[in-house]
Amino acid sequence: MGEVTYIDAIREAQHDVLQDDERVFIYGQDVGNFGGAFKATKGLKELFPDRVLDSPISEDAMIGMAVGAAIEGMRPIIEMQFADFSSVAFNQIVNQAATHFFRTGVPIPITVRLPSGGTPGSGPFHSQMMESIYAYYPGLVIVTPATVADAYWMLVDSIALDDPVLYCEHKFLYRWLKADSMKGDDRLPIGQARIVRAGKHATVVAYSAMVHEALRAADSLSEEGWEIEVVDLRSVKPLDTDTVIASVARTGRLLAVGEAFPWGGVTAEVVSRVASEGFHLLDAPPQRLNARDTPVPYHPNLWEAHRPTLESISAAIRNLLRL
């Protein structure tokens, strides 16, 4: 692995878009000279002083402002300090931004960056995955990049899109995930899933940080001769059912893995689409693996037992192969 990190890509994408498009600006807590809680906007205020603005701790107003600015033709990027805090902007996201085009015909090109997901010692309010909550509401695009190049291109593409996007960036990947190049060589449009590992015995559908856990599980099973196909959804809305079903057609078996709470959400949507539309392709009952149905615990011992890991994914795949 190289030296370009996932968060470098997020910073760079914002830099490049600010550079290329005068309509873009960034609004969020501590995004200015401080460069953001995770340094995703580091140095941008110096380069674009008028277009990188510190906001008060007012998430509801931050989204309202973004919608207003978008009506006037701007393309705001809103940084939530943590995805979890978007809960106080929920109304403006799902009722104001998401419905606007349908109600008025005027599109709302805003990108809300949600630092998502668990890291050890972060606890119930700094670890949440919120993609499923927002995907429920009509009118929102939900992207969940899992690679450095996707982090770059999907942010660029999100900002270019005329519709509101929730860009779910995984905090665990920020500095842990590295690549040789920022832009990779496999740019795909939003809405298209990627087969990140080919296989023939089972399909594991994952997204965000779970893609890497799934890949590790597939690696470890390959030592036993199992060839596991891994699909990275990349965006959970739109959800690329075609790629998933094509994969299941090859493998006959499906495990959907998510780091999120187990009721509803991405894995339920994936499994139920495959069950409805690809039923006859299935050689075994489709399975799901999610985090536990409790708040995300603080202590690393509990945290590791809360979300799917290499071990639990491997066990779930083994079980699926036996079904």
Binding site: S58, A61, M65, A66, M74, N95, R103, P189, P238
Partner: protein
């Protein structure tokens, strides 16, 4: 405001006759302040987030009357093609954002529109106005929206109609301050208070506030005291409003007060007034008739598109 009163009376009777799609929410008693605000703003140049009782302001701002009747009568030619209705209509690109129901939520939207103009170098001489009621002041969105506007020193005029009730809830169950205008200092914005039943006073205070915002004075909070002279909506008989309040100065009808003021000051004659009223009645009649003849939305014709980008549509 005559037009607004005439239109809304018509809508209310259409509602009683079962001719309206959905509810009807009207603003009798608030025409003076609303129209004063609307008349200070320029369509296509300024911004006005009209709320539930702002027919006066909408008309004065320049909203075509057909937009109103189409919305209430369910014409597919309405601004939202039947997807939303009544007071939720808007024409955002003309400076009239389309409200969502959640109270207080439009304040930050107006602020965002103003911020965009600043970033685009087009803020000079522009004002953004938003209406709220006494009840809406209790929302977090009101607070965040006004505070953010103050921090950015945006030309926002917040017209707060203290009409003594939020639905059935009287002000003493809504806030504990002596006077809502006392909130201004806590946000670092300029505060104004006016008797909202008094047309000339309203016009004066509101136009001054708009001027202050226009010339760079930052957000202006205008508190207008009056009484809601209708139910919350036309389904509500407002029997909870005490007689004493109705008979107090707050309960005056701004239309009557205004007419008398203009007549006494010799600014209009009784004849002119009468002809305005009959013109308004004709205009309303025509707009209602047009909207009534227009087709309703057809679910097979509607494209049901929720994304502007066609490539995002899924087929599931």
């Amino acid at each position: 405001m005559i037009t607004a009163r005439t239109l809304e009376s018509k809508l209310a009777s259409l509602y009683k006759a079962g001719k309206i799609v959905g509810g009807v929410y009207i603003g009798p008693g608030q025409e003076a302040i609303s129209a004063s605000l609307g008349s200070c703003l320029t369509w296509g140049h300024d911004v006005f987030a009209a709320l539930i009782r702002d027919q006066g302001g909408r008309t004065a701002f320049g909203e075509p009357m057909l937009d109103a009747t189409r919305s209430y009568l369910g014409s597919v030619k309405g601004l939202s093609r039947g997807r939303d209705g009544n007071i939720h209509r808007g024409d955002p690109k003309a400076g009239l954002p389309a409200m969502i129901s959640h109270l207080g939520a439009m304040i930050s939207v107006v602020s965002g529109m103003l911020l965009a103009r600043r970033l685009q170098g087009k803020l000079e001489g522009v004002v953004g106005a938003a209406s709220v009621g006494d009840g809406a002041t209790s929302t977090g969105a009101f607070h965040e929206g006004l505070n953010v506007a103050a921090v950015e020193k945006l030309p926002l005029v917040l017209l707060l109609a203290n009409n003594q009730f939020a639905y059935s809830t009287p002000t003493e169950r809504q806030f504990a301050c002596a006077n809502l205008v006392d909130r201004a200092i806590g946000y670092g914005v300029e505060g104004h208070e006016v008797d909202g039943t008094d047309l000339l006073a309203s016009l004066k205070v509101i136009s001054e506030a708009v001027e202050r915002a226009r010339e760079g004075g930052g957000p202006q909070l205008v508190v207008a005291n009056l009484l809601r002279l209708s139910g919350h909506g036309e389904h509500d008989d407002a029997s909870y409003v005490p007689e004493a309040l109705k008979n107090s100065p707050l309960g005056r009808d701004c239309m009557t007060v205004g007419e008398n003021q203009l007549l006494e000051a010799g600014m209009i004659t009784t004849d002119e007034l009468a002809s305005w009223k009959s013109e308004a009645a004709e205009e309303v009649q025509a707009a209602v008739a047009t909207a009534q003849q227009e087709p309703s939305p057809d679910p097979y014709q509607d494209d049901w598109r929720v994304f502007s980008s066609p490539e995002l549509s899924e087929h599931h």
